[in-house]
């Protein structure tokens, strides 16, 4: 059996610190070692753990600071401050938990990747030894076969000489004896060569079996690394943190590139009172025209046309009376904890913010939803064209799916081919996020990772 031994791959050191990335492509051994740098992943895990600790510490800082002021500060502004501190602290604590979860997920993946790479590299090393053994034993077999052939030829010649000499009568007896002796020697050589052939064949069979075993181990290590990566991806993709409210800003949705409502003068905001407006996302829900004269009397309680439902609408005088003996100033906390003016909403029309307010991800106006209008299934090229049209950058990834990120680094569109290992995500589908990182369907409606809305198909 002829086996050619190609030069083995250059093996990178294992378990190295950050920057040492292991990844061996299948060469002569047919074994692929899972790519990636466990050291860098572990360092990132530590960074996220530090972030989690920092956020946890500041959650306490915010609460303790509020608590330290509580005994000496009583009143309306103090109440607002205490309440806001409690909310902000809760956001810090939640974000700390998210960071710790991400850190744990990365730590697990790092450890599993490291183990899989070690096993993969071990498999490569052993497989290379097997290939060398196959090479050596193949050469040994060839040599033994050649020796056996030569011995067989010499034996045949000696036997023929002995026969010829025997036929010559008494004169041929010495020659016949010499030929018999030579035949006996050649027989011994032939037997040795045949023994060598059998040994070489056994060694070859063993080396092939070992090679198969190490190739199987290498394949398993690679698959386990892939599985660990899938688990880490699933965990990381599900994580999100919500920004805390800011002092002096009403509790409006944050992280929106544009206001969650149409401003006066903008498209979608009617210029005259009472104009009916069709909401593209929730027709009928938010599109009722607000009458010019607002019904604010006791006979129509509960109607509060100001955004926030009264949260920021209570007028707080700049100077509050504090009693005759102290006719001074009752300052509003921070000069604006709850009194800063919020952006004036359009009094006519509010729209949902899930589409980013720029037409992205909405069902009209050139959004991603247009590609799915009327049950259409867009092609992959159309999706690329849409993403490029938004100015998003294609994130280069040799192994991952095409992913477009916006200027803030938020992955807005991921074009996935699907994986048989992920139930529910087998077919080609897209994943969409809004500017805040919230998963949405192509129409801008919030979805979860495993929602059908997070699996809109496309034609590859």
């Amino acid at each position: 059996m002829a086996v050619s031994l190609a030069p083995g791959p250059v093996l990178a050191p294992l378990g190295g610190g950050p920057g040492v990335s292991v990844g061996v492509s299948p060469g002569a051994t047919g074994i692929q070692v899972a790519p990636g740098d466990p050291g860098s992943l572990l360092a990132s895990s530590s960074e996220l753990a530090r972030l989690g600790q920092m956020l946890e510490d500041h959650s306490s800082t915010v609460l303790e600071t509020a608590g330290s002021l509580a005994p000496s500060w009583l009143g309306q502004a103090s109440g607002a401050y205490q309440q806001l501190s409690s909310i902000v602290s809760a956001h810090f604590r939640a974000a700390a938990g998210t960071s710790r979860t991400a850190a744990a997920s990365l730590r697990r993946y790092s450890a599993e990747l490291d183990r899989c790479q070690r096993e993969g590299m071990q498999a490569v090393t052993h497989a290379e030894a097997c290939l060398k053994e196959i090479h050596d034993q193949t050469a040994r077999l060839a040599a033994a076969q050649a020796a056996a052939g030569a011995a067989q030829g010499a034996l045949n010649t000696a036997r023929a000489q002995a026969t010829t000499a025997g036929a010559a009568g008494p004169l041929g007896v010495p020659l016949a004896a010499a030929a018999d002796a030579q035949a006996s020697i050649e027989q011994g050589r032939l037997t040795s060569a045949e023994t060598e052939i059998q040994a070489a064949r056994r060694a070859l069979t063993h080396a092939h079996e070992d090679l198969t075993m190490w190739q199987g181990r290498g394949r398993r290590a690679w698959e386990e690394a892939q599985s660990a990566a899938d688990q880490a991806s699933g965990s990381l993709e599900a994580l999100t943190i919500a920004a805390p409210p800011l002092a002096g800003v009403a509790a409006l949705p944050l992280l929106s590139a544009t206001p969650p409502f149409a401003l006066p003068g903008e498209a979608g905001c009617p210029t005259s009172p009472g104009t009916p407006v069709e909401d593209p996302l929730f027709p009928g829900l938010l599109a009722d025209p607000i009458p010019e004269r607002l019904p604010t009397g006791e006979s129509l309680p509960g109607i509060e046309p100001v955004l926030g439902g009264g949260l920021i609408a209570d007028p707080i005088p700049e100077r509050l009376p504090t009693g005759e003996s102290l006719p001074g100033i009752e300052p509003v906390l921070g000069g604006g904890l709850i009194a800063d003016p919020a952006p004036a909403p359009c009094p006519r029309h509010q729209v949902d913010d899930t589409g980013g307010g720029t037409g992205e991800g909405q069902s009209s106006g050139g959004g991603l939803g247009d590609l799915y209008d009327g049950g259409k299934v867009p092609s992959e090229a159309e999706l690329h064209g849409y993403a490029q049209g938004q100015g998003w950058q294609l994130q280069p990834s040799p192994t991952g799916p095409p992913k477009y990120v916006d200027g803030n680094g938020v992955p807005r569109l991921t074009i996935k081919s699907g994986s048989a290992r992920t139930p529910g995500s087998e077919g080609p589908h897209i994943e969409v996020r809004d500017p805040s990182g919230q998963r949405t369907d192509p129409f801008g409606n919030p979805v979860l990772r495993r929602s059908p809305g997070n699996h809109y198909p496309y034609t590859p």
Partner: protein, 98 residues
């Protein structure tokens, strides 16, 4: 009616603790930026970079929240303290307003 016993050092310290949050958050954001590429070449690269992007977008708001809260406390302390001085001057006395 509100009641505020102003101890300027105490309020300043409280405001300082809150305002310091933004610096720490900014440091952490820098640390996270350094993690970019840590999952390069792995199937988890997209999810990891997505998480970093999301954190980079949202974390500055945490710093801002601390900053604004600190500014609010500092502003309140300053306003109350100013009132105290004003009232003390009006009453021609040096007692603490409580």
């Amino acid at each position: 009616m509100s009641e505020f016993s102003v101890t300027p050092e105490h309020v300043i310290a409280a405001a300082g603790r809150l305002s310091a949050i933004s610096g720490h958050v900014a440091d952490s954001c820098g640390g996270l930026r350094g993690c970019s590429g840590a999952a390069a070449g792995t199937p988890a690269e997209g999810a990891f970079e997505g998480l970093l992007g999301h954190f980079s977008t949202v974390l500055p708001h945490f710093g801002l929240a601390g900053e604004r809260l600190g500014a609010a406390v500092a502003g309140a302390g300053s306003n109350y303290s100013g009132s105290e001085v004003e009232i003390a001057g009006a009453c021609d006395g040096g007692g603490r307003w409580r």
